[in-house]
Subunit: 487 residues, 2 copies
């Protein structure tokens, strides 16, 4: 067995044990990881210094960006403590595993339950920030998954030190956990303890990733967090499902009935608060009525943006509107003609493509053709139009009178964000812990044979198919207790 | 634009319209398809006769199986009516689109809704049975998806006739639908009518499929229904998500506390009622205590199977147990030694691999290594052991004291079955209409900017993150009415 197959198969063995752990057992692991990391702070920071010492000459010679160097640094004020607190926060979240989403009585004594369970083995690839190791390890363990991690090569020593502390914590607690576990034999316990040590593993090189992307027998989900080029490369080089987004080309459509002050607030927020973020607006769609009306709607909206340093790349009607306005005299450099590529470009800076449209239907068509299915907004006072837009735009987020910048797991209130997905299957938009679980069907019977069921006319028993009422996020145990009370 | 890109992009245009239709609009299309197919019965059967006339010589020369010929035949008793009734049944199902699964108040006047929506464009590949065109068309339209279909080449003329009737129904009703639609302009209506005609398209050749598997820009989900070889070929030759299962290698574990009569009933049902089905049991795991006990548990269980014509391929301990029994004298031909490959083989006939294990943990390990993650059962009177098995086995179905043959969308009570999936993401097990939808996040605001929210200490507004109570399968409209009543 080669090294990468060994890593992947060991992760699978770990996942097989992790999926059987209770919420409190998983919490014990998370708290132990927290404690080990806290205790290993000085060793981890020493490793981080090694990474920084290696990176500094590269920054000085211009081979590494200073922003990447900054992300690499774990010594910055509060960074280590934030990493530690993140583990405690994840430990406090609701366990996504073991929830019943659907239950159906096929017959008396033959009951079907759809129960959430971990996906299995995750391969997570990220850049630079070494604290992601602790964050992903916590998310994976909380949701009962094993994880193989690859950080940026610049942060390797730090990642290694963090993952060493995690492994030690897993070993320590698993020995204690499985001594108490009832019903399984000594040999099985020893195996479980051994396997759990491999719950979180790290790999170092890009070549390792190429090899692991072929391990579809063992790995269930790949989560790339990084540049568009990285995500696209991974999407094209594996048959394992990939959760992520390559691009964030968000649009905001200012409809005919939109109010100017609202549009100014929302569009300026959507464009300028963090231009490099994937949820920033890259294209402004403006209803043609605003270009030449007496209220100077569009020139005033444009002014709010230009005042914040935004360059507008406009189609011909929008450009003509601004060229006829006072704004143009002082800001010729920030008001430019657009070309076709601008509507397919994720600028990631203070540049905004502007396109004139004649209706919500035009806006929808433009977005469905040019957007990246991330997040798109309509600003309108017309509810019917807003609904048409939200139904017709094919994107993870469809917003009405709000900034695209709200598209974020923490802002949505998920407690944790695994990543942002523009997929059309499994998980879409900002993905919380729920993206790391799937479900299995449990069927509880007492000896039923399928051949006994069918049409009554043929002397068979008909299926009852009586839905069992399931509350939100109920476990099988909670459901059973509730049903007992009702009887 | 080449022909396949045209087909795929037209499907996308149709999907963009389909996703905006209401339940009653979709019902109108389904009922029109039903009526058109009923009216076109004689033309469709004439096309079916053409297919059969072409196929018959192939059957006679042994190039085509008679069972495939039988599946091709749409004239068989009740087959056409069953196809028609299927469309009405699907029309009656609950609309899977527009349901709110989660809602969160980020702030007063800033509310987030996770709403189900169609996946988009489906590519469905199936073999022989031409009535699948009508079935998939109905499932796709009910869930707001466009579909591109490829049936077996033997059924091409029938598929073509069925799809022609579907196209005519779509054209007829879409003209009527969009005349009434408020708020969009004439040009948009004409476009919508034109696009909807392409909601269901068929392609003919294997080469077409190879080309369509590259159309990941337009196609969102591939559903292969057919042989293991077909499914594997597709899984390996596209980066579009694939919903399906290549293998159905199901196991049943007879634990120490299992009752003999129950085991006989369940295992005989699981093995013999339809050996070619993917949910039939292929491996029997037997606890070692049953091999040589005074009750002759295993020889009696084996006898029930052998009496039904099953050949048992046994590991050494199981073989020894049977060789020492009376059964062996009369049935030497049906009691054989197994080899390692038998535990990785989907026999699809009356052959059962038998393996001796010493614990549920051994059974779980065997299944996780050799199974296909389809459906596996434990027969036991020990609830704790059943729970360990259901948590530890990584499969779409984990059954306790019931036959693996229950793993089926209709038996589960889903009303319709799109396919069976052994995926670890999106949809798993028998997949109903829910497998054809994903969700989008609607955010309803009144002009909020993200920069205004954050820590109170920094002078920002904190997020409320108040969960909005959502009932099961509620639409946004129903949710709004309920909240009004509560206020």
């Amino acid at each position: 067995m080669d090294r990468l197959t060994e890593i992947a198969s060991h992760a699978r063995e770990a996942a097989n044990v992790l999926q059987t752990l209770s919420t409190s057992q998983k919490s014990a692991f998370l708290l132990a990881i927290h404690a080990r990391l806290a205790a290993a702070k000085s060793q981890i920071l020493a490793s981080n210094k090694k990474d920084k010492d290696l990176a500094l000459p590269l920054v000085e010679s211009g081979k590494l960006s200073s922003s990447l160097y900054k992300r690499l640094d774990l010594e910055g004020p509060g960074k280590f403590d934030t990493m530690l607190q993140g583990i405690k926060d994840i430990e406090q979240l609701q366990d996504p595993v073991g929830k019943v989403a659907f239950a159906n009585k096929l017959d008396n004594g033959l009951e079907l339950y759809r129960v959430s369970c971990p996906v299995g083995v995750l391969l997570v690839i990220f850049e630079a920030r070494p604290e992601v190791v602790a964050n992903i390890a916590a998310l994976a363990i909380k949701s009962g998954n094993a994880a193989i991690l690859k950080g940026g090569k610049e942060s390797f020593h730090t990642c290694e030190a963090v993952s060493k502390a995690i492994r030690e914590a897993m070993e320590e607690v698993s020995a204690a956990t499985f001594e108490e576990k009832e019903g399984s034999t000594g040999g099985d316990n020893n195996k479980a303890v051994k396997h759990l040590a491999d719950a979180v593993q790290i790999v170092e090189s890009r070549e390792d990733i190429d090899g692991l992307l072929k391990q579809d027998k063992y790995i269930d989900l790949v989560i790339p967090r990084g540049s568009s080029a990285l995500v696209k490369y991974i999407q094209w080089n594996t048959r394992i499902p990939v959760l992520g987004h390559a691009d964030g080309l968000c649009s905001t459509y200012v409809a005919e009935s939109a109010k100017l002050a609202l549009a100014q607030t929302v569009v300026v927020d959507a464009k300028t608060t963090y231009p490099a973020a994937c949820n920033s607006t890259e294209t402004l769609l403006i209803h043609s009525s605003h270009l030449h009306d007496s209220s100077k709607f569009f020139p005033q909206l444009a002014k709010s943006l230009v005042d914040q340093g935004v360059t507008l790349k406009c189609d011909a009607p929008a450009l003509a509107s601004l060229q006829a306005s006072d704004l143009f005299k002082d800001h010729q450099d920030k008001i430019q003609a657009s070309n076709e590529e601008d509507y397919d470009t994720e600028f990631l800076e203070l540049t905004l493509a502007v396109k004139t449209v004649d209706s919500a239907e035009d806006a929808i068509r433009h977005i469905n053709e040019h957007g990246s299915k991330h997040t798109d907004a309509i600003l309108t006072e017309n509810e019917a139009e807003a609904k048409r837009f939200m139904a017709g735009v094919d994107a993870a987020g469809v917003f009405w009178n709000a900034s695209t910048r709200f598209a974020d797991g923490f802002r949505y209130g998920f407690g944790a964000e695994v990543g942002v997905s523009t997929n059309k299957t499994h998980a879409r938009g900002p993905v919380g812990l729920e993206g790391l679980v799937i479900y299995k069907y449990q069927l509880h019977g007492n000896g039923q044979a399928s051949a006994d069921y069918g049409n009554e006319a043929d002397g068979k028993k008909p299926y009852l198919h009586e839905r069992i009422d399931v509350g939100e996020k109920e476990t099988l145990g909670e459901l059973a207790r509730k049903r007992q009370r009702l009887e």
